[in-house]
Symmetry: C2
Subunit: 295 residues, 2 copies
């Protein structure tokens, strides 16, 4: 199986898990809410974060089903963040994964509620004993996901991002922005398999550092694609950062400098995996993919 | 100590706990976010839900600090729900607890992020070992809070409430609305002390049923106050439901009928407490207070 096939297979398995977790669409207010929750979550994305969870869990022979549930929880949080970030009062985007965003398809109030509902659901999934029989692992997963989502993670990063519409960020600030907005969640996804397995601190730390470096490489690759990609291929509006006059890794380092930095970070990420031998090959292939992807 | 004094003392202790939990306000984007998180949460409300948690926990001699942390988590979720419900795309309210709402004081984007951040923080608090050393109790609390917050709880109720702006609800629908929007969280607050204590199923069920009945009485009392109260005393806009033409327990049952129903439910709530003897006196006094309150 090539890496692309493995990524696709995991994406399909996560999709099935999400389909199972989300409430069924139906009539009336609650049925419409369920439909919107499904619309926001299903049928899109490469599911890179869940792949990290699953590939990390495989190192420790964690049952696949458990890893998929944790991956699904991470993806619920990722989906919620996209729905709220796309709101008119935030980034005001009409297109996501090639489809109308939730507030365009439904309305703003529903989009706010969909995000809120997905966030709660993620914690419900992690806390459920179907995720793992071990309550200590479950509660550690909840703690990690909550930290990565909150004011010292994703929410704080989005606040800096809004701030950046009026302030020109320097490199330190833009790294801080990335570390909070996307890096914390990717670091959690990297470590989650080890938490699920109750692995010792050295392994947890190595996976966290791998994901930390790869998360930054991922963001730089995103900034490069915002310049070099096109809207159709990306499934979201290209050139948006430049249009809004935002500082990105490309404006700071130049296109070539950004590519070089992303490659360096991906190599650095892979170096943290040495202790796992060939059991971490899927994570190595992911690092290569992240900097080479075209969408 | 009178009941009002006990309620006030618990509110102050919860306030101190929240002050400790919330990040310090400061400069820059993250500092402003922290300031807004504090603005949304501190300095207001009777803290009825945390009182239920603390009074429930006292029945089982749970350490006060643990109960206060769970009470603070419940209040974080309650505060988040108020911030999002007040948004222009939702209930569009400019006044809350006698102060400008978060989106008026800051901006809409910050209000969305404040709600998101408070919700994640609530789960972080519950999952932290400072709440209780027992991981099983922590993970059960997370699960209960997530269910009460999500699409089958508060978020679902708010969706029905928005729907009700165009549809005239009947009594069954309005009870469903209340049960999801406010009832699920109150039921959780009632049961939380018993979860924290690892109490057996009979006790948990009795407290849950007490809180379930009291939650409905609380909502009916709210509907009555929306008619009979004034904006200054309530600290929020009075007469809003009537103005929006929404069906409430008062429009369905009449003012006298609603008062009678609230009293009946409060008595029914208290009946569930019999197994606890005088250890549940604080919860009995709360039931009396809920239907007699004037704001």
């Amino acid at each position: 199986m090539t890496f692309e096939e493995a990524l696709k297979a995991t994406a399909e398995a996560v999709e099935a898990e999400l389909d199972d977790i989300l409430p069924p669409a139906g009539d009336g207010a609650e049925g419409e809410l369920a439909e919107a929750l499904r619309y926001a979550t299903l049928g899109g994305g490469k599911r890179v974060r869940p792949f990290m969870v699953v590939a990390g869990a495989e190192i420790f022979n964690v049952p696949k089903r458990n890893a998929l549930r944790v991956g699904a929880a991470v993806e619920l949080v990722h989906s919620y963040s996209l729905v709220h970030d796309d709101l008119p009062c935030m980034d005001d985007d009409a297109l996501r994964r090639g489809q109308p965003t939730v507030h365009v398809k439904y309305d703003e109030a529903t989009a706010v509620l969909v995000g809120d509902g997905l966030l709660s659901l993620a914690f419900e999934v992690l806390a459920d004993e179907a995720t793992t029989a071990d309550p200590r692992a479950r509660v550690e997963l909840v703690h990690g996901l909550a930290q990565a989502s909150g004011a010292h993670g994703m929410v704080g990063g989005q606040k800096i991002d809004l701030w950046a519409e009026n302030e020109r960020l320097d490199e330190t600030q833009i790294i801080r922005l990335q570390r909070l907005k996307t890096g914390a969640m990717i670091a959690f996804a990297g470590e989650a398999g080890a938490i699920l397995a109750g692995a010792e601190a050295t392994s947890r730390q190595a996976l966290r550092m791998y994901a930390h470096d790869l998360g930054l490489a991922f963001q730089i690759a995103d900034d490069i694609l915002d310049i070099t990609g096109d809207t159709e291929e990306l499934g979201k509006t290209a050139g948006k950062d430049v249009e809004q006059g935002k500082a990105t890794f490309v404006t700071l380092l130049g296109l070539e400098g950004a590519k070089e930095r992303a490659g360096m970070l991906a190599a650095q990420a892979v170096a943290h995996l040495e202790i796992f031998g060939e059991r971490a090959d899927a994570l190595r292939a992911l690092a290569e993919f992240v900097v080479a992807r075209r969408s």
